[in-house]
Assembly symmetry: C2
Homo-oligomer: 296 residues x 2
């Protein structure tokens, strides 16, 4: 958690940004002002950053991009940086490049433009789905889904049954081994899944919207903004933000395992109040602070 504040500056919370590590790959969600310093402060290996996913172009979600890109340039980065976000982010990058023609690496911008959940990026181990939020300006949420891992073959079986490389390959693909003599080595005995696929959803900024829980169904860990306490439900609606109870209800309806919250209004930055209101609806809620690390 690199920034848990909303737009007005406060002490000890930076503006929106989160880093996510998935099987050694590093992703950034949003880039509020100061994100580069936060990455240094919290020992996030900045130079390994591969892709940035921007929710929308409000300043508290993007103004840290400029410094981050400059530092990558000064640091001699050569590998491309991929940036995903709404199309209106493009002029920010064009403006930056007009002042930094010497940049030694490529900025690959991938505009997101979808009305429905859509996979926008995929590797061997993870996929990223973008979906529209409701924020009065083009805004996207992002879901990171780990893919089903290969089966791991139990070491003791390899020796015990004298498994050949071909037979090991068969098990890894998730099939029983049937030998020439008709005997069967059942997959379920000889191999196991090292983990069940996990998922993380980044939802900031938005008002709650119809179908939101459907999009987030079964997510392992959901980050959902809670800009306002319940007493400010009117403000939340008029400014396209979410209250504590609303976010907690989404967590209930979507059946997630854990809810993380942040983006607290500057009028009240005591995260315990936000957490308590959520927990009354969804006990597995955790209010985040800058520097918090969660393992999924």
């Amino acid at each position: 958690m690199l920034g848990t504040a909303s737009a007005m500056p406060v002490v000890n919370r930076n503006q929106s940004a989160q880093a996510l590590q998935v099987h050694g790959r590093l992703f950034l969600m949003d880039a509020g002002e100061g994100v580069q310093s936060q990455m240094v402060r919290y020992h996030v290996p900045m130079m390994k950053l591969e892709s940035v996913f921007i929710s929308h172009i409000h300043g508290d979600h993007v103004y840290g991009l400029f410094g981050l890109l400059s530092t990558f340039g000064m640091g001699g980065r050569t590998i491309p940086l991929h940036i995903y976000g709404p199309g209106n982010l493009k002029p920010f990058l064009t403006f930056f490049l007009s002042y930094n023609e010497w940049l030694p690496f490529e900025i690959a911008f991938h505009p997101v433009n979808t009305r429905f959940p859509e996979v926008i990026f995929e590797t061997k181990s993870v996929s990223v789905t973008a979906f529209p939020l409701l924020h009065g300006i083009e805004t996207y949420g992002y879901i990171f889904r780990e893919k089903e891992p290969q089966w791991n073959v139990r070491k003791e079986f390899i020796a015990q049954y004298g498994l050949t490389l071909t037979e090991i390959g068969t098990l890894k693909r998730g099939e029983d081994v049937v030998r020439a003599d008709g005997s069967v080595i059942p997959l379920a005995d000889a191999a196991y899944k090292p983990f069940a696929p996990r998922s993380y959803a980044y939802v900031s900024d938005t008002a709650v919207f119809p179908g939101e829980a459907e999009v987030l169904k079964g997510i392992t860990v959901l980050y959902h903004e809670t800009t306002f306490l319940t007493e400010h439900e009117d403000k939340a609606a008029s400014r396209f933000h979410t209250t504590t109870r609303q976010a907690a209800q989404v967590a209930v309806d979507a059946g997630v395992s854990k809810l993380l919250i942040g983006h607290y209004s500057s009028r009240n930055t005591d995260q315990n109040l936000y957490e308590a209101e959520c927990r009354a609806v969804f006990p597995e809620t955790y209010a985040t602070a800058d520097g918090d690390v969660y393992e999924i």
Copy 2:
């Protein structure tokens, strides 16, 4: 001192920015990323900010402008904000405004363009002089000079000599009072200057250059960047920066009262090393840290 780091991000030092209060007016010099948070953190009354003086458009001196301007907008500022800086700062403001047409206040940009020291701004109590630095890109230093105060008339004289309002006015203007009977009330007896005019120079970033000490002659407090320790004099020259000893020598040659230093290279952020090297040449040197406050 709102930011004492150089360009690469480090922990516990923000990028370049300083606030200066002169007779209740608030000025900002440079606006490195995170300057708005620093102003909140160190209780600088941000909303009172009147003018910003930008040295040059390298990112570590300007990327904090965007967030600051956004926050002024959200905070409902209506009074104009004056920004002084090289002409190539203009597109930054144009870009910002293209995304913030709703801004409730005016940004008045005053391009600085001078080869010699020139007064660019003046009030009843202070003048600001811009002069070119040597940084491989258009860059300016700024000198803030308090004006000569009016003479204060000694209260005991008013009663003792039964001074008229006209006579008090004469003394305030700095003249002896000559009465109808030919008697003289000498200015030096009846009035005094409440303070000697003070001055502050902001010099960042630059290599030392011919005539620098002349420009800074007699300054009360000089802030001068010292990006490099003496051992890196080669780097300082090739990157248009200054070493500790070089800055201290400028302080000696200019006959300033006090030297403040900062903008330390990220390769060595121990300010005591920089201070010690300067003090060997100019004892009245103080290495600055974020949050330091100096009264001139």
